[in-house]
């Protein structure tokens, strides 16, 4: 699966530590749900093969960072859930 996140700087991404992130789905099984946001607890790595799913990174004006990260999602909740 592939996901995407927005950051102002790459240093904001807390690599190799469990963290809560707001990400959006790029390859959901129902294509109509593409770009749906969810909050996840996850581990991420700058190495793109380390975790099962890919995490693409964009900056705040929409520019895509060329190298994706990888992500392992532990659990998922709604974007507005506390």
């Amino acid at each position: 699966m592939e996901f995407e996140i927005y950051v102002s700087r790459l240093e904001e991404l807390p690599v190799e530590q469990e963290c809560e992130l707001l990400i959006r789905a790029l390859t959901p099984s129902d294509r109509r749900k593409k770009y749906k946001y969810q909050k996840v607890r996850a581990l991420i790595s700058q190495q793109k093969d380390r975790y099962p799913d890919l995490l693409w990174v964009r900056f705040l004006k929409g520019q895509l960072h060329t190298d994706p990260y990888s992500i392992r999602i532990a659990n998922t909740k709604g974007a507005t859930d506390e």
Binding site: K36, R58, G62, T80
Partner: protein
């Protein structure tokens, strides 16, 4: 003639060559957005997409009012009407309130009703408009309907909305907007959710009313503009009324105490300027829609799209009304759409020294002020709809020192490219006046320049003879 709905309007666009049907399947994920963007940049006809990938049964309409031809049709004029003619009709129709909006028991927007847990915003073909956008923008040609809880005054405003998940949208509900003012002052401090309804695909004059900064309640303004009462129906889950013939209605609550990141998105100046930032959250509790629904949408980018054309057109004419209400000797006001509604051109017929400054102060102090930066004041003999004439007036009438006044630390909009990040966040800006009028105390015999043109420098009978003989001289007519 008034259009009952968006569909009648589109049929009229087909007849004038200002709309086309696109039968071939298009993808809501960027392809539709790219087509609409190209249409805006080429001045092409509004496309009705009849087949959308993943969304059988749904249709979409792009760039519904991105040209003056389409605006002319929307106001019941021939498509070739000049901008001056369209302006005069707009001013005339909205000089006084027209028929009262009418409450009806039901309407086409109730043909399908989805409430509660069944609500899923992904059942609507919200486009991914530009690559890199923060999300799918469901509402770019729409109105957010709300009511002031103290006065019961109704507001319709066009405030963009991005889809977060099945029930949630987010968007910039700025405190300078009418609905934003009510939400931030009357609901947020009490931690109370504010009821709203987003109407997507209303009739064209209702949409114009929502996008314009108008002095009356928008349903009254829309009725005046169309000449017929807007028909309204009650919402299912909130105490609000919406146009009965709308394509889609989303009902719900604007949440206090919760913000989510919104954007980036293409914005009216033709850039992505405002940052992705925490903005206002809308929770959707019901969706109603017509059979064979059509989702209209604008695509903001470089000129000309609805964000520029309609806002420039209406801001200019509301400015004219404000100046007239102050008794200022203003002939006409025009904001060229290509200025991304940053430039107000005003023509005056005046013998008052520094009239340009008085005009500018009246505008800088008005409700319209956050949306523009430059006021160019020219004498009434300049055709303000002819940008060549306006540039000629600036370059020959405006003294580079005395003629330009700059106002630092004024107000501005979050989406303005030349402002610093701090200024954008705080809604600060600057303003400038270009006084292109010749001082009334210049001696006409010695100091005042005399314009030299065919119109002004030849006797009437010579001009008539030259015009009559034009073809005989060998010129094409």
């Amino acid at each position: 003639m008034a259009f009952r709905d968006n569909r009648e309007f589109f049929e009229a666009l087909l007849r004038t060559g200002d709309g086309i049907r696109v039968a071939r399947e298009v993808d809501w994920d960027l392809e539709m957005g790219a087509i609409v963007r190209r249409v805006c940049e080429m001045g092409g006809p509004a496309p009705l997409f009849e087949s959308i990938r993943d969304y059988p049964g749904w249709r979409a309409l792009g760039a519904p009012l991105a040209t003056f031809r389409r605006l002319a049709v929307a106001l019941g004029l021939p498509a070739h009407a000049s901008v001056r003619e369209i302006s005069e009709v707009y001013i005339e129709k909205t000089r006084a309130p027209g028929p009262e909006p009418k409450l009806v028991s039901t309407g086409p927007c109730k043909e399908n009703v989805v409430v509660g847990d069944e609500v899923d915003l992904f059942m609507l073909p919200a486009p991914m408009v530009h690559e890199g956008d923060g999300g799918r923008y469901l509402s770019t040609w729409h109105m957010v309907v709300s009511k002031d809880p103290d006065t019961a005054e109704v507001n319709w405003g066009m405030y963009r909305q991005m889809v977060i998940d099945e029930h949630t949208m987010v968007g910039p509900l700025l405190p300078v907007s009418d609905t934003g003012r009510v939400f931030h002052n009357k609901y947020k401090p009490k931690n109370k959710p504010m009821p709203f309804a987003t109407v997507i695909g209303a009739d064209p004059t209702s949409s114009i009313a929502a996008a314009a900064g108008v002095p009356w309640q928008e349903p009254v303004f829309a009725s005046a503009l169309s000449g017929e009462p807007v028909e309204l129906v009650k919402c299912e889950t909130v105490d609000l009324e919406v146009p009965a013939t709308a394509e889609v209605v989303l009902e719900g609550e604007i949440l206090p105490g919760k913000e989510l990141p919104e954007g980036p998105f293409g914005e009216y100046p033709g850039y992505r300027t405002s940052l992705r930032e925490p903005r206002t959250v809308y929770r959707v509790n019901a969706i109603t829609y017509r059979n064979n629904p059509i989702l209209p949408g604008a695509n903001m980018g470089v000129p000309v799209d609805e964000g520029q054309l309609l806002r420039a057109f209406t801001l200019g004419l509301e400015a004219r009304r404000i100046l007239a209400s102050q008794g200022l000797p203003v002939s006409e006001v025009f904001m060229p759409p290509c200025s991304a509604h940053h430039l107000m051109i005003v023509s005056v017929k005046s013998a008052v020294t520094n009239i340009a400054v008085q005009v500018a102060h009246a505008l800088f102090g008005s409700k319209l002020a956050p949306w523009f930066y430059y006021v160019v004041v020219v004498d009434a003999d300049v055709d303000i709809y002819n940008l060549e004439e306006v540039i000629h007036a600036i370059c020959t009438g405006c003294h580079p020192g005395r003629g330009i006044r700059i106002y630092e630390d004024d107000i501005g909009s979050f989406a303005t490219p030349f402002l610093s990040l701090e200024e954008r966040r705080q809604g600060r800006g600057a303003k400038a006046v270009f006084d292109c009028t010749f001082p009334p105390d210049w001696d006409p015999k010695t100091e005042l320049p005399i314009k030299v043109s065919f119109e002004t420098n030849y006797p009437k009978e010579v001009k008539e003879r030259v015009i009559a003989n034009w073809k005989d001289y060998g010129f094409p007519q």
